[in-house]
Structure formats: structure tokens, C-alpha cells
Amino acid sequence: MRLREKRKESAFRFKGRRRTSRDWLNPKSKIQNPKSERVRLIILLLGWLCLVATLAEFIAPYLPGTQHRQSINLPPMRVHFFAEDGRLHLRPFVYQVERVAPRGVGAGRRYAENKQQRYPIRFFVQGDSYQLLGLVASSVHLFGTEKQVASRQSPVASEKQLPATSEGATHATIHLLGTDHLGRDVFSRLVYGSRVTLSIALTSLIVSLLLGLIVGGVSGYFGGRVDAVFMRFGELVQSIPAIFLILALRAAFPLEISFGKTLAMLTGIFAFASWPEVARLVRSNVLSVTARDFVLSAKAVGASDAWIMRRHVLPNTLTPAVLQAAIIVPSFILGEAALSFLGVGVQEPQPSWGNMLAAAQDLTVLLNSWWMLTPGVAIFVTVVAFNALGDAIRDALDPRWRGRSQGWG
């Protein structure tokens, strides 16, 4: 029924021309399927996200732990194209931001732009040295500011301003999303946090897939008692509500553990909580494949189980299993965020989207520094993208699927 409606709709949209499935498979076709167009956008977005996560050191202007003590709780800097005198600068720039109001603790601070000092934003600037992915040593960052450019209109004024600003404004910094209570650049931490969050999500997916493929494959292929045991155990795991299972599993580890171990622990927890779902998917795929004629005939001519599994079952179940498993990625992202937010996941000073949000729990921070909520937006965008990808996959694999989803967040 729905299918028919959709066809009517699209026929209308393309002014009477019935769109065939070939149209959007053909790259030269002028007619774009709006759906495939959207999928392309989603994949592009996720690709960019992965790129940012991979090249975090290069893209972030500062290291996640660098503290800019002169600018604590600094609001996001505004990027300008027009100078004070109304002159257009093709190279965008920022003004140095200085503290104007009470020198006291964090929240009472007020900052104002010093219009006399202009800092053009440059690409590929030298900054903190780092090792890209721990391999390539470099100190070039995608963007940043370089030494000051005195305003042309009144050199005297800027000269006069200097004493007031000398206590720290002499170096130029750029904070696109402001800084936190320790003066750490929020944008940089967001970029590094994406690496932590995404790597946990992806490794969890891989481990969960491996477990699910093995268990589901064996269950589906051999059936009988093995199948019953595995499936009952999976059912057991799924009988415990996800958030409680995760918290219980978390309690089985020490509260304070190193960063590397945290990553391994979170991956293990999420994989343990999610493998039954993957195993069930794989099992049903395996069951349908093993009932097909080519498997039966392979058996009839005396092929070994291992050969049949490698040659027939695996190739036919791997792709749908991987695609369907992509649906659980958002729950890993939300799970990491939740645990880190509660303080039992990724610990400071390592940034993750969850523990960055935890800083915003403080009411003074929440009221005075809205930019500390940006990790929430990052999580939102990522989850939307993965959800949309999941919907597209489900649409493609099973057009009869209806919106049902469960989240941990």
C-alpha cells in the first residue's frame, strides 16, 4: 500500500515522468532520487566526522590539555571580516579578547574585544608540537592566529592600550568555541573528544560484530543444543535493561583506571551488552541461507561444514549483518556519553563528549557559559546522522520496516 503511494508521489514530483529504479543508479542521470541524495549527504557528514577524529591533532589548534590561563571561561570568539573602519578583509580575523570586569573567580569575569589588535586567521600555522596518531611528528595546525597586526588607523591608540593588556594579551589565541574553567580550548577538546567517542563506538561495533558473527553463525548453522544454549544466554543478557546492565558491568571494574584501560573496558561493556542482537540477526540470516538449494547441493556432494561456511554462508550473511549492526552505533555513542557524564567512563583530563558535558552540570557554568553545551550538539548531530543512516539501511533491506527504536541515552 505504502509503496504504491510513494510511487504516486514521485510520479507527481517529476511531472508525470515515472521514475524507474535505473534512473538513480545511473550516475549520469539528471534525476536525483531525493532519498539517495540524502544518504549521500549523511555518508559525507559521517566521513568528515571520521576525518576530523583521525586528524584531531592537526585540526585542533591546541592540545586538549593546554591551559590558557589569561582566558578562562572565555566566550566563543567572533570571526570578523570587517575591521572597525569598515574595511573588508578577505582573510578573516579575530580581535584579541581581554578581561574587563572583576578579576575574580571564573563566572564573574567579563571579556571584551580589543578592537585595536587584529589577528588574522591563517592556515597551516605552527603551534603546539604533536605526533599525528602517535606516528608523525609535526607542529603544523590547520588554522590558528599569528603575531599581531597593529591597527592602521591609530598606532598611538594601540600603543596606549598596550600596558593594560600586557599581562597576557600579547600572544594571540583563537578560541572558536570559547574556553572552559581551566582555560582549555573547547573546540580543540571537542575535536579530540570526537576521536575518543567515535573510536569507542567503532571498536565496540567491531567487537560486537565479531562476537555476534561467531555465536550467531555457529547457532544458526549447527542448531540443536548449541543453538539453544547460546540463544538462551543472549536472551538472558537482553532481559536486563541496558542501562542497568551497563552500570552493573561498570561496577565490576575499579572506579579509577587509566585511559587506555577505560577505552578497553567501555568497548568490552558495550560489546557484551549488544552482541545478542547481532547474533540474532546473523542467526536468522544463516538459517535462511542454509535452507537454500546451493548449500543443500554442496552438502549433497560432500562438502565439509567449514568449506560451506566459508564459501557460502559467510559471504551471504556478512554484508547484511554488518549493515544491520550499524543501527546500534548510536547507542554506543549515547552509552559512552552517559557513562562519562556520570563520571564512570572516560576521565578527565582526557576529553570525551560525555565528560565535557558533565562540566556543564554545574549551575554557574550552565548559566554563564552556554558554549560548554556544544558537546551535546555534537552528540546530537552524530546520532542524527547515524540514525538516518540506519533508517536508510533498513529501508533498503526491508521496506516493510516501521520506526521502532530503543536508545540508552
Binding site: A248, A251, A337, L357, L367, G403
Partner: protein, 322 residues
Amino acid sequence: MTRLLIRRLVHVIPLLFGVSILSFFIIALTPGDPLSDLLSNPRISRETIEALRHRLGLDLPIYVRYGRWLIGLLRGDFGLSLQYQVPVSSIISPALVNTLILSLSATLVSLLIGIPLGVIAAVRRGSVIDRMCGFLATVSLSTPRIFLGLLALLLAAKTGWFPIGGQYSSSFDRLTGVEKLMDALRHLVLPALILSLAPLAIYLRQMRGNLLDTMDDDYVRIARAKGLSETAVIVKHALRTALGPVITLFGYSIGNLLSGSALVETIMAWPGIGKMTVEAVFARDIYVLMAAVMIASVMLIAGNLLADLLLGMNDPRIKLEA
């Protein structure tokens, strides 16, 4: 129906037994206990701690502890909270009530808003309202609850319309009956709204999809052909069938009544079972943790059972097999 119910219940018992073993052994892996914090306190001797540990039964092998715990559980005794030194049930029952208040009001809100919106979206398919509903559903399904919770806190703090977290005001005891109710309601609004967003979106989507499907069915066409008004066609004929899957979804949501609100409770300082569990993780309070896991699992299993039964009652064509 009764036979089916009995068969399903028989199936549930080994499942619950398995859940209890699995979660007990996971939680018993917990390194250290509340007493290990005392080790660093020079004023308490090692012997005292050992004696305490012995008294609490923490030095016994794990299967003995499990056996004792299980026997206690069958008698309705959840054990002792190591953190507060009181029976777990005295901590968990008020938390349970609080969580149920929160989740049930959230479910109510999501049903009362989600279903009518779904119907409107289906009837006015392609209209501005429909698109807004679709957008609302996508947004509320993808926004992390922790983020929503923080936004709610921000709203409460900026406007002062709502209290900032908690269940009652500090002056609660001095208020009169009506004022008490109003105070409690004011505290309930924000967390309940946040919690209702995701199920609301699910009901909305489901309702819209179902109604669109049934609107094409033959009997609806016949109802129209009879000359019934559009309202009568929708309310009397299409809606009744379309509500079926929503009822099943509602059954599933019963299972999540206890577990869905854990994060929101922690952010909004709502003294429910989720907040209690998180605190128990920090305090290594294993029996509180166990009780929470068990109760939440029972709820989930019962909810799934209920959903299956509702499905069977709603659609006689579906043959239920245990």
C-alpha cells in the same frame, strides 16, 4: 489465554534465575567493597575491618554468598545496604515509587500528545503540521537525554518558572495540602516532559504509519462509500485497527518504566531508582545494585509478556505460541 499465560510464566522463572546468577556474578567481580575505603583510615585497625567484613559475610566464597542472597530474596529480603547499613528494601521502595510516578506521568504525556498528533499528521498528510511532526519526531528521538536534561536545568535556572531539580522544595513540610500538591507537580513537570519526548515520537510515528496503512484498506473504502463522514470513517473504522500496534508498543514501554529514566533522574536530582543505582556504583554497594538490576529485569520481562498478551488480545488472527 490462561494456559498461555501459565506457559509463559513457567518460561520466565528459569530466565529470572539466570538473570540473578549473571548479575550477581558480574557485580561480585567488583574490586573492593565499601570497607576497603576504611583501610586507608589509620584510626580503624585491620582487625576491626576484617571483623566487620566477616559480620557482613563479605569474606565468604561467592557461591555461598549467592545462595544466601537468593534464599533471602525468596523471603522478600534484598539484603543489607553496605553503604547505609539498613535493609536494601527500605532504600529501594521509596525510590521505586518515585521512579514510577515520574515514568508513568511521562508515559501518560507521551500517549496523550503522541497519538492525537499521529492521527492529525496522518489525516493531513504532507501538510505543514505533518512535516513539523516528522521533524519533531526525528529531533526528539536523536537528542541525548543528558543534553535535554541540561537544557531543562538551564531553562529552570534562567526563567525561574520551574524548580532546579529535586522532588520537593526545602519548605515542603510547612506547606498546606494543596500547596504540597502544586509543589510536587511543579517539580515533576520538567523531568516528565523530557522523558516523554522519545516515546512521544515513537507513538507519533507508529500511529501515523498505521493510520496511513489502514486508510487504504477495503473496509475503510466501503465505509466511505456508504457515505459516512470523514470523521466517522477515521474514528470508528480506521483508528480502531490502527491503534493495535500502538497498544503493543505501550506494553513494551511498561517494561522500560524503571530503566528509561535513570539518566534524567541523575541530572534532575529526582530520588528514583536510577539515581540510586548510580550512587550504588560509586559506593560499591553491591546489594543495592543487585536489587535494582533484579527489579528492573522483572519489570522488563513482565512488560514484554504484557505486550505479547496485548498483541494476542488485540488481533485474534495472531496465534500465540509460548
